[in-house]
Amino acid sequence: MPSAITLARPGPGSPVELAPGVHWTGALDPGLRVFDVILRTANGTTYNAYTVRGSAGVAVIDTVKAEFAGAFFERLEQVARYEEITALVLNHLEPDHTGAVAELLRRAPQARIHVAPRGLDMLRALLKDEFADYEVVRVRTGDTVSLGDRSLRFLTTPYVHWPETQCTYLEEEGLLFTCDLMGCHFCDERLFNDAVGDFRFSFEYYFDHIMRPFRRHVSDALDLIEPLEIAMIAPAHGPVLRSHPREYITHYRRLVTKRLASEVAQKTLLIFYVSAYGATSQMAAAVAEGAAENADVRVSLFDLAVGEVAPFVDLVEEADGIVLGTPTINGDAVKTVWDLLASFVDIETKGKLGGAFGSYGWTGEAVAMVESRLQGLKMRVPVKGLRIKLHPTEPELEDCRGFGRQLSAHLTGTAEPREIDFASL
């Protein structure tokens, strides 16, 4: 290990030097257990803010969650005076990074604010009436801000994980400020990846729940990051990655690549079903049969009665179409079906083909409920759901096959164009 790496802990309230004139001025939140309602952390998190000093100015990169503003200002004041701050860079406008922005601007009103193009609207909402008091610059990939002998270059990296996310690169030091990207919820005051405890699990967990649904966009961000000379990655949560930073980029690249390589060129259609008395199961088999008549579609049939849905998520992520069969019980689809649908929050479903079918006794509303959820997941639902009262007759099974055939036609782009009147909707 190079001797330059120190394992010293920062004193309470002290800033931490990353490179000459570059400091961590963030805050530790060891008590946090649940982040943003959905994300758990077993040992808290950090909100990493940074300052960069150049010969002609100081830049502040991101701030912290509001309740930690005190710690942020305490550290900031030890490395810069407010009147020296020429630039405020906001890589992301989620509240865990902007809680001290309004107060910082009151203390350093001369600072020019740098946000990605989509950040403007959110900044306006954050600053309310004070928005008009400051100078805001919208920056795009390649734009720079000079601090004299040093400069910051911006990379527009939208949807990792909000529309306005961006990264900032300190060229002279090869230091990349990535905000949530390559971050994790892990609180260790030793701060650097070669000094903190084992955070590998937290790193994976954070990717799986925050970045995975946006993996297409993460991939675009990596396209911009990979060509850079990188000495250190400074994310906004968890350890600063100064030891082997390139490995984290390589690892992210692996994480955004297809988890299940497909050995076939066909479109993939997954049919999931739950059946109470065997009727929906009969329908499922017929739908699968009809769909499989199309040689360009690979059809798989799964019974959700096994109860565990998590193992299907990887499969769904790579699938072209997803069809759900559910009976209507107590006026609703069954819980396993909702569990499966809820697990889709971790993946991208936009543009996939969706469909629903099911047997029912009295009302049969489950099919429409599932269809509208599929639409909420940004899927297209071109074939109207199929509902059958009690057990299907042979002609009804033929309807199921027809339903399957239509789904396959839509998957392969061979569906007959149809024309209808507004009034029939």
Binding site: P117, R118, L120, D121, P163, K350, G351, E371, Q375, G376, K378, M379, R380, V381, P382, V383, K384, H410, A415, E416, P417, R418, E419, I420, D421, F422, L425
Partner: protein
């Protein structure tokens, strides 16, 4: 009453609609993959590619123009919750 032919190519369906109809009034009913957030022309979620017949839509309002710009929309993209069809044929798909 003047009508228009509005085609949703991702679901291979054409709907004959009265002029003045907004895309948002139809797209969900036919299962097209266009999705909505605010439904009021603010968030940009409903960004839609106009494959043909852009001239058969109402001109974008000042609000829509701003949101299109902030979302870095391409020249052939519009907000499905905002634009209305005037007549003729229009072909759309999710952006």
């Amino acid at each position: 009453m003047a009508t228009a032919k509005l085609t949703f190519s991702d679901v291979a369906l054409t709907v004959n609609v009265p002029s003045g109809t907004r895309i948002i009034e139809i797209s969900e009913k036919v299962g097209a993959g266009i999705t909505y957030g605010c439904r009021e022309g603010e968030c940009g979620t409903c960004l839609t590619r106009i494959e043909s017949g852009a001239e058969n839509l109402t001109e974008p309002s000042v609000l829509e123009q701003r949101v299109l710009k902030e979302n870095m929309a391409a020249r052939d993209e519009r907000l499905a919750c905002q634009c209305q069809v005037l007549g003729g044929e229009i072909k759309v798909r999710p952006a």
